[in-house]
């Protein structure tokens, strides 16, 4: 039982963290241009 009081909040906390990360990513527009993001990393950025 003592293990459960530690492990269940831990499991829920991990899940909530993932959920929060997903919400944050969506709010900051990271899913708006999926193709662009994939290609942007190939840009050498000659002038930043």
């Amino acid at each position: 039982m003592t293990g459960l009081t530690l492990l269940i909040p831990l499991a829920l906390g991990c899940g909530l963290m993932g959920l929060a990360a997903f919400f944050w990513a969506m709010r900051s527009g990271q899913f708006d241009d999926m193709q662009g993001a994939a290609m942007r990393m190939l840009d050498d950025g000659e002038e930043g």
Binding site: L12, F23, M39
Partner: protein, 711 residues
């Protein structure tokens, strides 16, 4: 503003504006880097950011820069661009995002509750089970309140109008199950159904999200192709200065300068200039119409030859274009009354399910089972019959079919379009731009020898005139290599002149012949003169496609705004009756007449003159070369020079509807097996969870068979 100094004072950088331009030509990382690094070097442009998905560039710039200047800056980098009007708030995208958020919450909750439920099913008892139930309730209650909202809202809207849809049984099922589980938890009962309720929401939201994503993907594809027709014009003021004015600020009496290659932003009368106007969007005729001083011109017309000065006579909502838009709006209202397959199924499914639950409640009460026991069984019946598979049956099939069609270059804008397309009984085609390519294609090129062809290609490459472009495309397709020319010069309104090994060559306006109904240009090589006639070529597979439609049981008809003589050839080639000289309102009347005869009409058209007919048709398709309004109105847009996508889409739509009906049968068959168990009181939360997942998987697997539907 008229007294503004010629040299504008340098303005503070804070005062910038953002403009959106559609750039369909972006396709790789190189293009993106070129635009994002190249544009800020232009004075007045602060930054540029490319969106690959939408094929758009957002430019932050000095307000003094006008849209044509931005367009020119992109053209210097080698990209064709069209300014987009203020995008406004994208309602559909916001809805998709909120659905996705609900799906994420439901997914998180379903996984965690399942984790707790599995331990209960494996034998947790007493205080541990009680704690797990409470924890599940703690997760499930906020989730149902948040993730269930889209369903509750839609169900409430339907009930208020005294109708029922798929969301009504879903909402009642979810709410009753949650309420009952909460009661069980509070009274220390053995079974809680939180996992079932949340999993149901998760599966249904997955279906809705797929549906929404598919639609917004198709819509983004269409938006990328759209060319905003003249967002404004250069207006001359009293002092002879010209100033960029937005289309909505144009007033009758203003004088606008229209350069060759620009579209008119308002209706007007020509004050000076002599040019050709492409008004194919209005009449469907592909040859430009000659306009001179005093002639009336319409907004949206493309000036193809020389600059014009036009006095505005009507702007904004008074233009001919706006009239057609109003006609389209009225014609499209019939379509919004269409009831989708899933909702039609729900009309009889929902009452059945509720009756069944009520009957099993009453039956157990009469058998003396007690209120609590009877209610539990009624909830189990509701949960088992909740249209989980039914909710996935339609979107899963449609998403797979639309994905397959999209790979073939057919963009389906919404799922109900496939249902409507499958029901059509008669196909009406426009001619120009639909059965034909809608652009000039040179004839008799084979009469020239190889040397002349390579000279011709070199000449055509030097100009952006529509006829030169057509020549270039045709010659490049034949694999001709351009010859080396010297001293190339383009004389506006005349043609191209150059030298080839000392002999003067030219591609110019015909000197001798007055071509009335045909476009032509003249190729001269020394003393040799060749006339190159152009025609609007019929799409390569038009005849086969119409034959395929007929063998699929559809009647076919051609309805055009063109002269009847111009229709003869195409009517003979396709073996189809053709009606000519139809104005937009006539086409609309034709569709209405066919409707009155009980036909369900598939309208295929491209011009603005087809707009009202596209809106009125039971289903409608437009090629990607169509006018903006037509692409926005049509249910389905297809890319490329071939007409085959019309037949492909029809076949895929019919197969999709077949699979959807199979899915309904599967879902109902599963219910026929599980409901007796539920009524007998033998369904535990474990059985419900397994049954629900299994039926969803079966339905999705069946839908995946549509992957090759667009062949």
């Amino acid at each position: 503003m008229a007294t503004r100094a010629l040299l504008p004072e340098p303005e503070p950088r804070v005062d910038t504006r953002e403009s959106l331009l559609a750039v369909p030509g972006i396709h790789c990382a190189g293009c993106m880097a070129k635009i994002e690094n190249g544009l800020p070097r232009v004075t007045g442009i602060e930054s540029a950011r490319v969106n690959m998905d939408a094929k758009r560039v957002a430019i932050r710039h000095d307000p003094a820069l006008s849209p044509p200047e931005l367009k020119a800056a992109l053209a210097r980098l080698g990209f064709e661009a069209e300014p987009l009007a203020d995008p406004g708030v994208d309602v559909a995208a916001a809805e998709n995002r909120s659905l996705l958020r609900a799906l994420a919450v439901a997914g998180f909750a379903a996984m965690n509750i399942m984790l707790l439920s599995v331990s209960v099913w494996s034998g947790a008892e007493g205080a541990t089970r009680q704690m797990f139930h409470w924890l599940s309730a703690l997760i499930a209650l906020p989730t149902v309140a948040y993730a269930g909202l889209p369903f509750f809202r839609s169900a409430w809207a339907a009930l208020r109008q005294r109708r029922t849809n798929m969301d009504v049984p879903i909402s009642i099922g979810v709410l009753l199950t949650t309420g009952m589980s909460l009661y069980e938890t509070a009274t220390g009962g053995a079974h809680a159904w939180f996992d079932g309720a949340v999993m149901l929401l998760f599966f249904l939201l997955a279906g809705r999200c797929l549906d929404g994503l598919m639609r917004s993907r198709a819509r983004a594809g269409v938006a990328a192709l759209l060319k905003q027709t003249a967002p404004g014009a250069l207006v001359l003021d009293g002092t002879g200065q010209s100033r960029w004015t937005k289309a909505d600020a144009l007033r009758p009496g203003m004088r606008m300068l229209v350069a060759a290659g620009e579209r008119l932003a308002a209706d007007g009368r020509v004050l000076s200039g002599d040019s050709g106007l492409d008004i194919s969007f209005l009449t469907g005729e592909s040859a430009p119409v000659r306009v001179r001083t005093g002639d009336a011109v319409q907004a949206g017309a493309l000036n193809v030859a020389a600059p014009l000065t036009v006095e505005v006579t009507a702007a904004g909502a008074d233009t001919v274009i706006a009239d057609i838009a109003r006609l389209m709006e009225e014609a499209g209202q019939g379509k919004s009354r269409y009831v989708r397959l899933a909702d039609r199924a729900a009309r009889w499914y929902a009452p059945c399910v509720h009756l069944l639950a009520a009957l099993s409640f009453a039956g157990w009460m009469i058998a003396g089972a007690g209120l609590h026991q009877s209610l539990l069984i009624a909830v189990a019946v509701l949960l088992i019959t909740c249209p989980c598979a039914l909710g996935l049956a339609v979107p899963a099939a449609q998403v797979v079919a639309c994905g397959a069609l999209m790979r073939q270059g057919v963009l389906v804008k919404d799922g109900s379009a496939l249902e409507r397309l499958a029901e059509t009984t008669e196909a009406v085609f426009d001619k120009t731009g639909t059965l034909t390519l809608g652009r000039p294609v040179p004839r008799h090129l084979d009469r020239l020898d190889a040397e002349d062809r390579s000279i011709l290609l070199a000449l055509a490459q030097a100009s952006r005139h529509p006829l030169s472009t057509a020549l270039r495309q045709a010659l490049e397709a034949q694999g001709v290599r351009p010859a080396a020319l010297g001293a190339i010069r383009e004389v506006p309104g005349e043609g191209l002149f150059a030298e080839h090994s000392g002999v003067p060559v030219s591609l110019a306006r015909p000197r001798s012949l007055i071509t009335l109904f045909e476009l032509a240009s003249e190729y001269r090589h020394g003393a040799d003169v060749h006339l190159l006639p152009f025609t609007d070529a019929i799409r390569p597979d038009a005849a086969e496609t119409l034959a395929a439609l007929r063998s699929a049981g559809l009647k076919t008809l051609i309805a055009s705004g063109d002269r009847p003589e111009a229709l003869e050839e195409i009517a003979r080639a396709t073996g189809t009756t053709a009606i000519g000289r139809l104005r937009p309102a006539d086409k609309l009347a034709l569709i209405d007449r066919l409707k009155a005869q009980g036909q369900k009409v598939l309208m295929v058209g491209d011009g603005l003159n087809d707009g009202p007919a596209l809106a009125a048709g039971h289903a409608s398709m437009a090629p990607a070369s169509a006018s903006d309004a037509s692409q926005l109105t049509a249910d389905i847009v297809f890319l490329g020079d071939r007409l085959a996508p019309v037949a492909i889409a029809l076949r895929a739509a019919r197969r999709t509807v077949r699979v959807v009906k199979q899915n309904f049968a599967l879902a109902i068959g599963y219910n026929a097996l599980a409901v007796p168990l539920a009524i007998a009181g033998k369904v535990t939360p474990l059985v419900a969870a397994v049954a629900m997942s299994l039926s969803s998987l079966v339905v999705i697997a069946n839908a995946l068979r549509l992957k090759g539907a667009a062949k």
